[in-house]
Each structure stands twice: as C-alpha cells, then as structure tokens.
Symmetry: C2
Subunit: 217 residues, 2 copies
C-alpha cells in the first residue's frame, strides 16, 4: 500500500480529535452523557464518523481515559523532575492530583462514573490500577530509604485513599475547595510521618538538616 503513510496520518489526526472531543464531553457530562452523537457534534463532525475511525464506542472511551491519565501524569512528572527536595516532590505529587482548574464538581463526578464502571468492566479497572501504581511508585521515590516496605505500603494506601476520598466528597457534597483539599491531605501526611522525618524530607539531598540552623535561621 503506497498510500499508507498519508492514510495513517489523517486517521491518527481524526482519532486524536475525536478522543479530545470525547474528553471534553466526558468532563462536562460524565460517562453517561458521553454519547456517540455528542462526541461527534463536539468534534464538529457528522454522527457516523465515529464508526469509521473506531471499532466501537468502547475504543473511544478507553482512549479517552488513557488520554486523561496521560494529561494528569505529564504535569506531575514535569514538576517531579524540577523538585529540589523530597518535600517538593511530595507537593508535586499531591498538588498534581488536584489540578488547578480541574477540581470541579462536574469533573469529580465524571471521575466517579469511571470508578463505578471500573468495578464492572475489567478494562477500566486495569487503567485505574495503573494510575494507582504510578502514584504509589511516586510516593515510594519520596520516602525511599526512610520507610520500610510495609510502612510504605500502608502510607501509600492511606494517602491514595485520602486523595480519592476528597474527590468523592467533591462530587457528592462540593463543600471543599482545591486549597483546602490539598491542605487536608498534607495534614494527613504530617501525622503519618514524624517531625524528624518531615525535616529530613524538607532538606535537599546531601545537605543534611542541621537542627540548630533551622531553629534559629
């Protein structure tokens, strides 16, 4: 096929456009309201186009979830690499889980609909597990050498649960803001690590914390 290069190009463009459109629809209307027709309308295309570029709606859907997770992760990774201290890495991770303009009730409830589906559809569950594993390995890199495996496991579970729980709360009650949510997660974290351990996290690697210098700066 001599034309495969061209064809694949257009195909990829349309697929990405449709997935991005699906993502916008998803954030506004949730998994339920994410109908084929709406996705196509959002993308400015005809209703039948979806069947041409995708096997079925599910393919768009999984693509959309992957797309969403990639967006979130890119931000976290960028901030992780720029972080000078482990504490800054921790901030990057936590704040990355509450994206600036995205801690919205609509988005939270859209997210919940994915979690509901994940309980039934193993494909979604896999994507979500991937996401959790990423969070856990990020946390592991922060507490590396400080916590043993068991404590790390426990702490990761608790921190992840806290984050997820606050999103759930946002969807259901919408009575907390982004800053408050982040603060609450840190309050939870602070009581999981001792004061001494926190000091350890706050200093860049190599420069060990000198108690006296910190007490009287």
């Amino acid at each position: 096929m001599a034309t495969q290069g061209k064809r694949t190009r257009i195909e990829d463009i349309r697929r990405v456009e449709l997935i991005a459109a699906a993502h916008r629809v998803f954030l506004e209307h949730g998994l339920q309201g994410m109908t084929s027709a709406r996705i196509c309308r959002e993308a400015g295309m005809s209703p039948g186009i979806l069947a041409y570029y995708f096997k079925g709606k599910d393919e768009v859907l999984f693509g959309m979830v992957r797309y969403n997770n990639r967006l979130l992760m890119e931000d976290v990774i960028a901030r992780l690499n720029a972080a000078p201290t482990n504490w800054a890495r921790l901030e990057a991770i936590v704040e990355g889980n509450f994206p600036a303009q995205a801690f919205t009730r609509a988005i939270a409830s859209a997210w919940m609909s994915v979690c509901a589906e994940a309980g039934v559809n193993e494909q979604y569950a896999r994507l979500q597990r991937l996401f959790h594993r990423r969070l856990r390995s990020n946390l592991a890199s922060v507490f590396d050498g400080m916590f043993d495996a068991a404590r790390l496991h426990e702490a990761s579970l608790i921190i992840a649960a806290l984050i997820d729980g606050l999103w759930l709360r946002k969807a259901v009650a919408d009575d907390i803001g982004r800053d408050e949510a982040i603060m609450l997660v840190f309050r939870g974290i602070r009581s999981l690590v001792s004061d001494k351990e926190e000091q350890q996290l706050r200093y860049p690697p190599g420069r060990e914390p000198k108690q006296a210098r910190r007490r009287r700066p």
Copy 2:
C-alpha cells in the same frame, strides 16, 4: 374512604417488597443494571407492577437509597448505644462503615455509581450529604470536649475521606480486605490524635485514666 386502611396496608407491603428487591438488584448490578424489569422479576412480580405503586423509577430508586442508608445506620446506632467508652464508639462508627459481609467489590462499585449520580442529580446529593452529616455528628459525639470546632471539622473530613477512599479503592482494585481497611482507618485516626488523647478515649467516662494503673495493670 372506608377501605383506606386495608389499601394502604397492601400498598405499603408492596412498596417495601419492591424497594427491598431493588436494593438486592442494586447491590449486585449497580445503578446501571438496576432496570425496572429486573426489579420486578427479583420481587417475583410482573414487569408492569412498578408503575402501579410508584410514580416512576426514580421514586423506587430514592426509596432504595434511603432503605440502604437506614440499614447501615441502624447497625451503627445499635453499637453506638452499647459502647462503654468513646474508643468503642469510634470502633462502632468505623466498623459500621465497613459492614461485615458487605465490603465487596460489587457493592463498592454499586456505591460508586450512586456517588457518580449524586454529582449530577441533586436528589442523590442530598441523601449522600445527609449520610455524611450523620457520620460527622457521630464523630463529634466521640471527640466532644476534646477537639475544638475547627479541629473536629478537619478530623471528620479526613476520616470520612479515608473511609470513602478505601471503598473507592475496593471498587477499582479490590486489593484490600475488610480488616485491613478498618486497620488503615485507625492508623489514620491514631496519627490524628495524640497518644494522650487516645488514652482519654479508651477509658469510660467518669473513670479518668490513671497512668500508673494502665502502665502496670
């Protein structure tokens, strides 16, 4: 109407039967799979019966959620009243949020579908908020006189988020058991209250903790 007594009796029976059937279907199939026909089949009745006793499916649905919340609450309240110490009250509250046979993936994901819906449908949101408020006032009764309002608010949010987050995790990953979940919540709580405060909770009211006696019983 002379027959109203009888009629109302039957009507109430059928409504409860249908709501209980809806509840069973819900726990197994989630909000999505809870179709009118399935509810009627589960109740051993004809498909059309639902429209006779309810205005529409929504009425059954809200009734079902109320029914569910009532079941959970009754258990908690019974254990709360029987609890000799504040710590036991705390255990009752936490364990009540993870009912013995009910910490299942299917049930967790059913629960998630309600949360997803609550983000869109204000009726559901009200029911869920009621539930949260109950949890919070229960926690308030435990920490009464120990925490000020701000700290109580914070602690309730964190504990509630922790509980909800573990349910979410159950739905998505199904990698924790009931005992582990309860243990994790208590780990979170233990680091929210100081050791001294925990001792205070562990003693029945009136009998103040005597450090020496506890240290060498």
